[in-house]
């Protein structure tokens, strides 16, 4: 029945419209022509209308992490092809193509980092790698992220951007949802905070596992976030979906995220949340006055 819907509407059409040899870009929000360097310097946020275009994993590291530095963990993990899956092109070939195109080994980076001087365990989906889909490697790395963070007493900040489970790994990709959530449960038992940052898009098996289980869920403006793909829903209910359906603003209206935070304020907001949740008081330590 349900997922994953691959045709996710994009808000980064600007990257496809390049004119003047990539010197200028057109904003998806207001349509104004902007200097590409200006947009990049503003972490892909339009200075005129505030439209958030897609920021890649590299850009997010620079935006959130001190010195843009990530001490990356488990960088050598690569997928196998347990189903010998082929849809005309083999899964192995698809992985090789994605690796070449993105210069990434898989659809997630994890590691240790500092956010405003606070040590954290950090993870970020690489959406450009097969739509950020979750197969065995992604599931394993998320499990290790929570396990290492639990062992090291670190909070977790995880940036979600995924179309869902990776079909080419079949049922094993579904099992990654259970594996990752089980690891998250153990981490939670240590009473360490998990800040889940929902970027555009977060759908299917990633949405329906750990993405909404943050102690605090933060969404980006206009990000598409939901369980089922729009086409699947439309063909099931035979109705056109209302405007703004499954966007971040729809989610906050329905109580599913704590806040929508623009990119410019993301680092400071996460920092404040972590401070509150890590400033734990020993029992009986209340001031006596």
């Amino acid at each position: 029945m349900a997922w994953p819907e691959k045709q996710v509407p994009t808000t980064d059409a600007s990257e496809k419209v390049s004119f003047g040899a990539g010197v200028f870009r057109r904003c998806d929000g207001c349509g104004e022509t902007l200097a590409a360097t200006e947009l990049a310097a503003a972490f892909e946020v339009c200075p005129l209308c505030g439209q958030h275009h897609r920021l890649d994993a590299d850009g997010w590291r620079k935006l959130l992490l001190d010195d843009g530095a990530l001490d990356a963990w488990d960088t050598t993990l690569e997928p196998l092809d347990p189903l010998e899956f082929s849809d005309g092109k083999s899964y192995r070939d698809r992985v090789a193509i994605a690796q070449k195109k993105t210069k990434a080994r898989e659809a997630i980076d994890i590691g240790g980092a500092a956010l405003g001087g606070r040590p954290i365990a950090f993870g970020a989906f690489v959406f450009s790698f097969m739509g950020g889909s979750m197969g065995s490697v992604v599931g394993e790395k998320i499990a290790r992220l929570f396990e290492r963070a639990a062992a090291g007493g670190l909070p977790v900040v995880l940036l979600q951007a995924s179309g869902g489970a990776r079909m080419q790994e079949g049922i094993l990709s579904l099992m990654q949802m259970a594996k990752a959530v089980a690891a998250l449960e153990r981490f939670r038992a240590k009473r360490l905070p998990f800040v889940s940052v929902l970027l555009h898009p977060t759908t299917g098996g990633v949405a329906a596992s750990f993405a909404f289980l943050g102690d605090v869920n933060v969404a980006e403006p206009k990000a598409l976030i939901g369980f089922a793909g729009a086409r699947v829903i439309e063909s099931t209910i035979r109705q056109t979906l209302p405007p703004g359906f499954q966007r971040a603003e729809f989610l906050i209206d329905h109580g599913m995220v704590d806040m929508i935070v623009p990119r410019t304020e993301m680092k400071a907001t996460i920092g404040t949340v972590l401070d509150h949740l890590m400033r734990r008081q020993a029992p009986g330590s209340a001031p006596t006055a």
């Binding site: 029945m1 349900a2 997922w3 819907e5 488990d74 050598t76 993990l77 690569e78 997928p79 196998l80 347990p82 189903l83 899956f85 849809d87 005309g88 065995s136 490697v137 394993e140 499990a143 489970a165 079909m167 790994e169 079949g170 049922i171 094993l172 990709s173 579904l174 099992m175 990654q176 949802m177 259970a178 594996k179 959530v181 089980a182 690891a183 998250l184 449960e185 153990r186 299917g204 098996g205 949405a207 329906a208 596992s209 993405a211 909404f212 289980l213 369980f227 089922a228 699947v232 829903i233 099931t236 209910i237 979906l241 209302p242 359906f245 499954q246 729809f250 329905h254 109580g255 599913m256």
Partner: protein, 317 residues
């Protein structure tokens, strides 16, 4: 039962019908016994032969068979003293998931299962076994109830998937499923999941984070329906047969991939030909499996479940 017959099962269904008639006649005429025995054997042989050659998509069709026994059919046969419990205490009661308290081999247990309907009217009520968030929140409530009272949990998986609807999204389908996975990972009681029909993606997994997972011979489990997969890969839902083969969704695929611990034989012609026998076959594996888990401590059960899922995946480092 209204007869619904898939084209490929016709020869077996005809034989099963004849066995049934002969069984009735032989109750009053003892001389028919040898003929009955011969026909039963013949039926079982033909069914095995015919069904051993089924394609993956035919097995998927069997897993969805309109006459197939559903959760409540099994609960009725496996358990006594069933008390159905309703509602998520937040919004409503979702009839696509049923659950409650029951006695199984002398033990009080909590049962939770997807429930499809028989006929149009009941199927409308049960939304064809596709739960809304309230179904998963009821399941969570029952998992936690089981945990508080130290009762083992038996789940029955049989759903096309979680319902993809506007209301489901508004009320947090994703969060409900995620929270159900977390609750199952957390509880300190034995959990056994039995895939009795369709195991449709995350909507099935929300009842599937168990210490042991069993699947009936013609049960299936998949990350996406073959039709949905074909629509995405080839923009052509009619190539579901190819997708079903590529996705490796059948019971023995699942066993080979380490997704399930055991495949349960079905009666000749499939579970829908003999509910009592289907339940007996399931019971023959379910009860020893539960007995073994009852020996584990609460913490050991959580660790056991953790290790089970922690191992699943295929990658090189």
């Amino acid at each position: 039962m209204a007869a619904f017959v898939l084209p490929f099962e016709k020869p077996v269904v005809d034989l099963v019908e004849r066995v049934r008639e002969l069984r009735v006649l032989s109750e009053t005429d003892a001389t028919l016994a040898p003929e009955l025995a011969r026909l039963e054997q013949e039926t079982s042989r033909l069914a095995r032969e015919l069904f051993s050659d089924l394609t993956p998509i035919q097995k998927v069709q069997l897993s969805r068979h309109a006459n197939r026994p559903y959760t409540l059919d099994y609960v009725k046969r496996l358990c006594t003293d069933f008390v159905e419990l309703h509602g998520d205490r937040r919004f409503s009661d979702d009839p696509a998931i049923v659950g409650g308290l029951a006695t199984y081999h002398g033990h009080s247990v909590v049962v939770v299962g997807h429930q499809k309907g028989r006929g149009t009217k009941e199927n409308m009520k049960r939304n064809f076994g596709m739960p809304n968030p309230e179904g998963y929140r009821k399941a969570i409530r029952l998992y936690e109830l089981a945990d508080r009272f130290g009762l083992p949990i038996l789940t029955f998986i049989d759903t096309p998937g979680a319902y993809p609807g506007i209301g489901a999204e508004e009320r947090g389908q994703s969060e409900a499923i995620g929270a159900a996975l977390a609750a199952m990972a957390r509880v300190k009681v034995p959990i056994i999941a039995s895939i009795v029909g369709e195991g449709g993606s995350g909507g099935a997994l929300a009842l599937g984070v168990a210490n042991r997972v069993l699947v009936l011979e013609f049960g299936c489990y998949s990350v996406i329906s073959p039709e949905g997969c074909a629509a995405i890969l080839w923009k052509d839902g009619s190539r579901a047969d190819e997708a079903a083969a590529a996705l490796k969704v059948t019971a023995f695929d699942l066993l080979r991939l380490g997704i399930v611990e055991a495949v349960i034989d079905e009666p000749a012609g499939g579970a829908h030909q003999d509910y009592d026998e289907a339940a007996r076959q399931l019971d023959a594996v379910l009860w020893p499996t539960l007995s073994a888990l009852l020996a584990l401590s609460p913490d050991a059960l959580v660790d056991d479940r953790y290790d089970r899922f922690r191992r699943l995946g295929a990658f090189r480092s």
